[in-house]
Symmetry: C2
Subunit: 681 residues, 2 copies
């Protein structure tokens, strides 16, 4: 009796074959992809420590309720107290990021305290205020103080200037009165508010002598640290279940005439004296730093989470077999189907591209912040730093939007390539997707950020036209727009692709600028005209992000020592570029850079590159260095033993027990008397 597919080798044999004759050194590749040997070694160390720490276990995580997840997350945060005190801040940040690879809720909940709340004090306080809060214990968080970040309100997210919470100076008592004037002003989505925080950094309208001075930050104690009871005048509620990140205890806060000392306003940039004098030391855009930091982190998240999802999908695609070619008794590995390669290989290239982008952006951010950190508030001259900050801001905004959208898309596509099993909670994809989805919204809605980036591009082009200098990252607006007759040399080389992207992007910026100008001429004011050209601005910003990502990939390649790793990465880079050309083909055709005949060739080249990548797909996922522990998905098993692991996981997570509702609901149905229904049909 012969059954179908009886010739299939076992999944483990199938996987083992993929690691024979690897064309490059996996560790060397890992070092390149992680930026340095040190960075890779740290990640490995953290993953090892986590896998041995009972609090960090992941096995049961897909079946925890919201309440259980929250408690587990707080336990993890408590577990960090040791490292807060013993590790330098860079190492510690890296540790938190690695924990975040398997628990996005942890990353958010702890990040709200140590990034946003602490950052609000660090960036906003005077020297005396800083010392005061350090003495209170903010550097020791989660010990002694736990902070939350009270920015968004029920009716106001992106529009910080429109927030309605008020902080009114009471000169008699030398206090601010924090107040929520109506339902819409309720602080909403505040991570850590529902169950963790003792203090909140509240964004509120500064009101002095009946005059409004705009949104400032106030530190407000919200709970008695001994009893955890809310303090007088403070209502805290629980926001409840979310799409993902249920380990975060998001809450809402309403303040009813809550008093805090005048000194609890962060006074680095704006000072309010006892007598009600309001003075500004530096321009408010100097406070951009904290927001940019979050966005830089999200580009990194996009890269590492996409690589995690792709590792699972690609390993599963190697092991999974479906349909046999002709009369053969061996079924085909699904990653051997050209269409499956098409589904996954360009995404792998994109994840790697975003990984290089995140390293460059992080470095740039650190350089800019470093150059500012030596300066006191009075030395922060806006004129000196505005251009630098603007460039960084624009870069981070566009890349945050592009990368988080790309990552969410990659996760969902990766999930779909795992077929039905990708829908199982135990595949870990549902968690990855639902946890990640919020990144497209928070710290700047992606569409809004893209438009900001597009707005900057339009203004840079205006500068170019006026003969002014523009940052290196957009210098191509000068050259590419002046060589409007240029065409591809037909080589489809990296240089050829790069020139093409510069050309189409500068063309798209020109189009947006032209539409903007035409609306100005029709009498619209600047803001209105910018809105009217928003679709083209959006397109320009998207193209600019791709151009930047691609050029950055090429730059990273040029810094990589010659060798087999670089050779493979050149193919990855080329695949990324050509695939993006195909997606944006209309732009290339319109501009005349590529013609129809080029596109046909590009289509074939992409197919060929996908096949080439498929041949080293497993070594490449190995070079992402995600252990089975951190992947937490039987489908992504390193050794390929997918089905046994999956079956065991499902079985352990769902032990047999008595039927919970047979007697009450099902039995009466089965015992119902027969009814003749033949006539019904």
């Amino acid at each position: 009796m012969s059954l179908p597919n009886s010739g299939n080798p076992s999944p483990m044999e199938t996987m083992a074959k993929e690691r024979v004759n690897i064309p490059f050194d996996i560790r060397k590749m890992g070092v390149i992809l992680h930026g340095s040997e040190e960075s890779l070694a740290l990640k490995e160390r953290f993953m090892l420590e986590m896998s041995r720490d009972p609090v960090m276990q992941l096995r049961d995580v897909h079946d925890l309720s919201k309440d259980e997840l929250r408690e587990r997350t707080m336990e993890k945060i408590a577990e960090m107290r040791h490292y807060v005190k013993t590790e330098d801040s860079k190492t510690f940040a890296r540790r938190c990021q690695t924990v975040g690879l398997s628990d996005a809720g942890f990353q958010t909940r702890f990040g709200v305290s140590t990034g946003l709340f602490l950052g609000a004090i660090r960036n906003g306080s005077t020297k005396e205020q800083w010392d005061y809060w350090v003495n209170k214990g903010v550097l020791q968080m989660p010990e002694r103080i736990i902070g939350c970040f009270g920015m968004t309100e029920l009716e106001h997210g992106s529009n910080v200037a429109g927030l309605l919470t008020t902080a009114t100076l009471d000169k008699k008592t030398d206090e601010f009165i924090i107040h929520t004037p109506n339902l819409g002003a309720t602080k909403w989505w505040i991570g850590g508010a529902a169950q963790s925080a003792t203090h909140c950094s509240v964004f509120a309208q500064l009101m002095v002598d009946g005059k409004r001075y705009g949104t400032k930050t106030f530190i407000v104690p919200i709970r008695d640290p001994k009893t955890f009871k809310t303090l007088p005048g403070i209502l805290i509620g629980d926001i409840g279940r979310k799409m993902g990140r249920d380990g975060v205890d998001n809450g809402y806060l309403q303040f009813s005439y809550v008093r805090v000392p005048r000194d609890y306003m962060m006074m680095k940039y704006t000072q309010v004296s006892k007598s009600g004098e309001v003075t500004d030391t530096a321009a408010p855009q100097m406070a951009y730093g904290a927001l940019i930091s979050g966005r830089v982190g999200m580009v990194t998240d996009s890269a590492v989470i996409a690589k995690k999802g792709l590792t699972i999908a690609i390993r599963y695609g190697i092991v999974r077999r479906q349909f046999s070619a002709g009369s053969d008794d061996i079924e085909t590995q699904i990653l051997d189907y050209p269409i499956h390669q098409r589904r996954l290989m360009p995404l792998m290239a994109q994840a790697i591209a975003i990984g290089f982008a995140s390293m460059t952006l992080q470095k740039k951010y650190e350089d800019v912040m470093e150059s500012r950190s030596h300066l006191g508030p009075s030395q922060l001259d806006p004129a000196n730093h505005a251009a630098e900050i603007k460039e960084l801001h624009v870069m981070a905004a566009g890349l945050k939007a592009f990368s988080t959208w790309a990552c969410l898309d990659m996760l969902e596509k990766s999930r779909q390539t795992c077929g039905g099993h990708g829908y199982s909670a135990y595949s870990t994809f549902p968690q990855l997707i639902s946890d990640f989805a919020v990144q497209c919204t928070w710290e700047g809605d992606n569409t809004v950020l893209m438009l900001q980036s597009g707005r900057a591009l339009v203004s840079y082009l205006e500068d170019v036209k006026k003969g002014k200098n523009v940052p290196d990252g957009v210098a191509y607006l000068k050259t590419a727009s002046s060589s409007s007759g240029s065409k591809s040399d037909g080589s489809l080389s990296l240089k050829d692709i790069e020139r093409g992207f510069e050309k189409v992007t500068s063309g798209a910026v020109e189009d947006a600028y032209a539409e903007y100008s035409s609306f100005l001429k029709k009498g619209q004011n600047k803001e209105k005209a910018l809105e009217s050209c928003s679709n083209l601005r959006f397109v320009a910003a998207r193209l600019h992000s791709i151009t930047w990502l691609f050029k950055n990939f090429v730059t990273a390649l040029n810094k990589t020592p010659a060798g087999p790793e670089r050779k493979v990465l050149e193919q990855v880079c080329r695949l990324y570029g050509l695939w993006q050309v195909e997606l944006e083909a209309a732009q290339f055709l319109s501009s005349g850079y590529f013609g129809k005949e080029h596109l046909a060739k590009i289509q074939t080249e992409i197919n060929d590159l996908c096949l080439a990548m498929r041949k080293c797909a497993i070594p490449l996922t190995d070079a992402f260095f995600n252990t089975d522990f951190i992947l937490n998905s039987p489908l992504g098993r390193y050794d390929g033993d997918v089905y046994n692991a999956y079956f065991d996981t499902v079985r352990r997570a769902n032990p047999a027990g008595p039927h919970p509702y047979f007697d009450r609901v099902i039995k009466p149905l089965l015992e119902a008397p027969p009814v003749n229904l033949k006539g019904k049909l």
Copy 2:
């Protein structure tokens, strides 16, 4: 003290304004979008009944655990017993679909019994077998018998021919022995298996006298209906948590030499005699019907679920205000931003297009099935029906894939337009998305289905080239390919768009065919050559789906009586067409149908149409006729009172209570002694 945005009118005032001077009759529009007055009236009746039925309540649904959801879902199924006996099958199907609008888990779990399991018997049984199972009570489900559908296995999803479960004839006892030979053959994902079913329709390899006869269906009793204990030789396990649809008790089954009477094999198409003689009455593709039915239903699901999500997003977009234009104290409604219109209005057009497509497809399906239902198995001549079935199959496969992808995309985009609040479970988007996501995978992975559609297109083109007849739906392959010089007349009229789509699609089919032929010439066999051209096949299938959807929309318009409703729908149709042209712009540029100058005009026209649609966006969502009960999202409130409803919902769902882990986890942190960490920074 003036606060920002103090001039904002209330959300309810804002919403009320949108319903003044509506340019069409909402009920008339509703009838058009629902196909008939009767269809709309039924939906209204069911929604009303549900809102008054305690078992159907939705208020608490976002906080139910998997176990609670499952019990609730079974209660809903039990609630259906009354209607099973009193309603005709079409009305009852409509009722289940309406329940499914708010509970996809119900739709699946009950559908598995009444659609798939019962369908397997209905389509596969002889007259005697049918009478036998009807006497057993299958028409009375969920009473007396509850069935599940045992097709997929752990290692085999799409590949039904590759299933490994065996059904071996034992002539001595006149029984089949059902057996699971190994782990990979475990029946997996079987909805209703874990907690509901008494019987399973098992797909297994028919084995007689050591010879394999392919995959057939066997009805296997799996539980004692009195005790609900599993029967001897049967292991049932629970698959546990999923991305969504946790109301469905998916399970796995392993059979160890389980015996069923020979008559429990469904013998309409293949018969096995007592002595082991195997005969075929009709070709197995005649069994396609059941699969097609599921796919037709998914096109309908895509339309109605997308309309539900868009109703929420559009209503929220009307009420939500953010940023004020200039010095104005009134903030702008976000749907008044051109980019927000761009995000939502084309999706609304797409949802309406898919709605019309679903009605046409359903009608076509019913017509074909109707024409076959009078025939006994021996009369089902493959030659007579193959072409008709093939056409329907290809149409359903492509539209299922296109529509479910489009719907998932529309839901995620709609969610994102609601900003942070779209991430709240109470917005209902997380549930909509996670429940819907599986539609891209089940009953045919979308990529596989698209390629099947592409394969058919290539073969239809081959027929055209050979001068053979092809179905009406692809007749354009004849005309469009012969007029390869044709260009747009520049009018951008519906006719112009239609001609353009026919041209680019036939061009894409030609490209796929050319690549296919070139691989044949290089010596590949037919299957291999089809794989090699899969990317172009995929593109052709996607374009064909769009072409079909657009042409069908135009046809539906032509059947709509003249009047203001039709006028608005013409704009919707034009927006849909032009937006799709923009998305597929590279195809149009390559083919020369549209030039660069057309695309610029199209970009502007889309902006204008988005603005026109925005003006009647609320009346259009009203014409989707989803009550607040069925929407179950405070963000989508009919009256616009979004924030009060949202706050109330969150508050009711998350009542205050004692802190669950303060003493154990947080208190020790807050009481930790101070440590001097200043040196660390």
